[in-house]
Symmetry: C2
Subunit: 228 residues, 2 copies
């Protein structure tokens, strides 16, 4: 079975890279900063989006692509915040891919959008292998998942430029050791930033919001340079 599976996965990944590169060109032409947001189920991706939109919506044009196996639950949560949201249903698929993003983009009006956040399917494995055309990969780890996750799912921790450690309000009630998370992530990914946050209490959001605003500013400058 190994002989059958490996080449097939490689073909899919190669085909995906081409589509991801097309998406990336489109985002760069429009000067939009795009992030691919990944985590385990229930680590707080949609809650992070809600809080981030609340904080930035007046200053930054935001759009969201939501990925789920089924339901439009998350896109509805985002639309209530007054920003454009498109829901992708993977119908059992465990990750988003470049093709799904191309199809979703047909339903988005990108004029006035500075920041596009793609919320991937909740899964620490396959989403790490499929580029969508994003500029940065961002991961959320909930402290309730435990400090051993970097050891168990190393690729995801390696490829992300930002790790948001969420639900820090639960730290006193768990056995999770933040210093172990920092040590283990540091061994896998020395250049990545780590922000400790609580989507429930709002604690720790300022550095995350500054990072996003800085990145959006860089891409706006690129867009202005092209238009002048």
């Amino acid at each position: 079975m190994t002989e059958i599976k490996v080449p097939v996965v490689r073909n899919i990944l190669q085909a995906n890279e081409r589509l991801a590169a097309e998406n990336r060109r489109r985002f760069d032409e429009a000067g939009i900063f795009v992030v691919n947001l990944m985590s385990s189920p229930g680590a707080g991706k949609t809650s992070l989006l809600e809080k981030t939109i609340d904080a930035l919506a007046g200053r930054i044009g935001i759009a969201v692509i939501e990925g789920d196996l089924q339901s439009s639950y998350d896109a509805e949560r985002i639309q209530k915040k007054g920003v454009q949201a498109v829901q992708i249903n993977t119908d059992g698929g465990c990750h988003l891919d470049g093709n799904m993003i191309q199809i979703a983009l047909e339903s988005l009006d990108l004029s006035g959008v500075d920041l596009l956040i793609i919320e991937n399917v909740g899964n620490l494995v396959c989403p790490a292998e499929f580029n969508l055309g994003e500029h940065e990969k961002i991961m959320i780890l909930s402290v309730a998942e435990g400090d051993d996750k970097p050891v168990k799912y190393p690729l995801m921790f390696q490829i992300c430029s930002v790790l948001l450690v969420n639900k820090i309000d639960l730290l006193p009630y768990t056995d999770c050791d933040m210093s172990k998370i920092r040590e283990r992530v540091g061994q896998l990914n020395a250049r990545g930033k780590i922000f400790e946050i609580s989507c429930r209490t709002g604690e720790g959001f300022a550095p995350w919001l500054s990072w996003i605003e800085e990145k959006v500013g860089e891409h706006r400058t690129l867009r202005a340079g092209k238009q002048s």
Copy 2:
């Protein structure tokens, strides 16, 4: 891309069914009760195993197959409890399959084993699609993941005969509503049992242990019937 991917996945699933059926025959011949334990990363699979082994090891012969992308961290935790444990490293694969279990069985001595627990890769998506030859599928949901998970990952909730809702000690500190979990799971899976537990405090373990002991007893009876 859809035309390429779908038939490949079907072929893999069909090939897997044959191997899972072979595993199942082997388990039944040996009178061993086998469970496939699934959850998101960090929901508490290995902690459940540790607590269950502590409670049952004197009365029931237990062996464990651990599935992870990398590392032998979990198998080492289990071996410290004095039971046989084999680690499968999927090397990036997001689920266990029947073939991996066949290979792992070569490293286990099944004589004296009444209960084999297979801990799948932490993932609510693909593990739901691959039978391993187990008698029952069991799922753990951590209350920290939130009460909307049945809506987002319905197949996993549909196929499991037992749902263990773990980390109930965290309920006062989260927005998770247990009645919503029960209502949403009930809509997907009317026959499944739900046990509310805390691996940290030990709360709620008695009904789960009774269920396991009853199942092991049924399979022992089948074994005794064959031998007489």
